[in-house]
């Protein structure tokens, strides 16, 4: 199967397991181009039977530092439709499309596994939260820093954190905006397993091979118990 080339993503397929790598060195920031390409990659993976599992990871040392705030602000400023008083009327398509992509990712009938090392911040953590499973390497750095820029997570981060870790933790993490460790993430149930960095990808592949045999999303916790504890 011929896989197209992308400028911000590397997509590979090996024995039924797709690898989607965020690829914008050094920290794989999620720019406008990334979100566009991400949507088309999802469409491709969804339509092609050859993909029986999908691993999402970052090229190099990091998962991703999330969206680039100044760029994002500029885009919102230019594209948001406002009324005569400068109040927001219509959310620009490029933002709505992003959350639609995340919802689509979550609705995949094949298992989606985020393999996280290095930084995983802001929108990148939100992306990870919409994967069915999250594995991470030791010394990964997590956070939703949006509040420190007078913003809030806007791609379902608050929603997901509430469901996964509870209201108190969601409030604390989102309002403080500070980073937290792999061990914290495990304690908050944000990741399912922490492994040494070196074995992160082999662990993700081994797990994908097991769970793609008979994946059903409602059995998520059973798979975690069976293969990740």
């Amino acid at each position: 199967m011929k896989i197209p080339e992308y400028s911000t993503i590397r997509l590979l397929l090996d024995e039924g397991i797709g690898l989607l790598e965020l690829n914008a060195p050094p920290s794989n920031a999620m720019n406008m181009e990334f979100f566009k390409e991400f949507a088309s990659v999802l469409e491709l993976v969804r339509c092609r039977q050859e993909f029986r599992a999908l691993i999402i990871s970052g090229h190099g040392r990091h998962y991703s530092s999330g969206a680039d705030v100044p760029v994002l602000l500029k885009e919102v400023f230019e594209k948001a439709e406002t009324d005569d008083y400068g109040r927001l009327k219509v959310v620009p398509d490029f933002l709505s499309n992003n959350y639609v992509s995340f919802l689509m990712l979550e609705s995949f009938s094949i298992p989606v596994i985020s393999a996280i090392r290095g930084v995983c911040l802001g929108s990148a953590l939100e992306l990870a939260l919409f994967s069915h499973f999250r594995l991470c390497g030791e010394e990964a750095v997590f956070g939703l820093p949006e509040a420190s820029f007078n913003l809030v997570p806007g791609l379902g981060g608050i929603y997901k954190l509430c469901c996964i870790s509870g209201q108190a933790l969601a409030l604390e993490r989102v309002l403080k905006g500070s980073t937290f460790t792999s061990e914290d993430a495990l304690r908050y149930r944000i990741v399912d397993k922490v492994v040494p960095k070196k074995v992160l990808m082999p662990t993700a592949y081994a797990f994908a091979r097991e769970v793609m045999q008979d994946f059903r999303v409602e059995k998520r916790n059973l798979y975690v118990k069976k293969y990740l504890t």
Partner: protein, 253 residues
């Protein structure tokens, strides 16, 4: 300081403090907790960044007094209406767009536990005790405690708590996610107050309100609707922030 039905209110450093002030057990005088109008008035100051609920003295609250409840039933007072009012009061509390922390020392029973469950964060002392004792009198929690406990700790544990009437200690309560933090005796008030201040002091109200609304949506909307709203709130804040950084909204589009 204002007081109504042995519940008092004061504001300290942009944090509103509701004290259940009927020592020693801080029983709720009204089964419906407190009048909605009063709660609305107290929480309407637009500079408030958080609310704390605590008990006067050694305990949080023993809940509603059963004698009162049975007297109301005997006197054919409209208990149903009273409970409905109480539910509205706790809904109002839960849906406030600033965080509410329950600071729990000692006992937290029945209606007291229902008030705590409607809060967003629960802090308790290591000697705290929790229970829904209603079942011992052949009744069940009446202020939404059944529904909220299912949501917070899951069906099986909530069933056990409600059906057994058994007391559980702080450690077990944390284990089942009924409380979020345990701190040492007598430290609950300071810890909760400082925690709330630390969370909110560097954040503008617009951000705090958006986070609280998003959490409310997570409780009440479908994931699709909740995400649409979350993106919309993000966009509103981003627009404001972009204008702030540009120094003026007259920047060329």
């Amino acid at each position: 300081m204002e007081t109504i039905n042995k519940i008092s209110w004061e504001i300290r450093n942009d944090i509103g403090i509701i004290t259940l002030d009927n020592p020693p057990e801080n029983y709720l005088v009204q089964p419906e907790f407190m009048p909605l109008e009063t709660l609305k008035k107290w929480t309407s100051y637009d500079y408030l960044k958080g609310i704390m609920i605590c008990g006067a003295g050694k305990h949080f609250s023993g809940g509603g007094k059963l004698e009162n409840l049975f007297r109301m039933i005997r006197d054919k007072e409209n208990i149903n209406e009273s409970m409905d009012k109480g539910k509205t009061v706790l809904e109002h509390l839960e849906n406030l767009d600033i965080p509410v922390v329950a600071a729990i020392e000692g006992i937290c029973f029945g209606g007291g536990l229902e008030v705590a469950l409607a809060s967003h964060i629960r802090v308790c002392s290591e000697n705290a005790l929790f229970a829904f004792p209603e079942i011992n009198q052949g009744i069940i929690p009446g202020l939404g405690g059944t529904v909220r406990s299912f949501g917070r700790i899951g069906f099986p544990k909530a069933m056990k708590l409600i059906m057994s009437g058994d007391m559980i200690n702080a450690e077990d309560a944390q284990e089942m996610n009924l409380v979020d933090f345990i701190v040492s005796k007598h430290k609950v008030f300071d810890f909760s107050f400082n925690f709330l201040q630390k969370l909110t002091r560097d954040r503008p109200l617009t951000v705090i309100n958006a986070v609280m609304k998003a959490m409310k949506n997570a409780r009440s909307l479908s994931i699709e609707e909740a995400m649409r709203e979350e993106t919309r709130m993000f966009c509103e804040l981003a627009l404001a922030e972009a204008k702030r950084r540009n120094g003026s909204r007259e920047i060329q589009k």
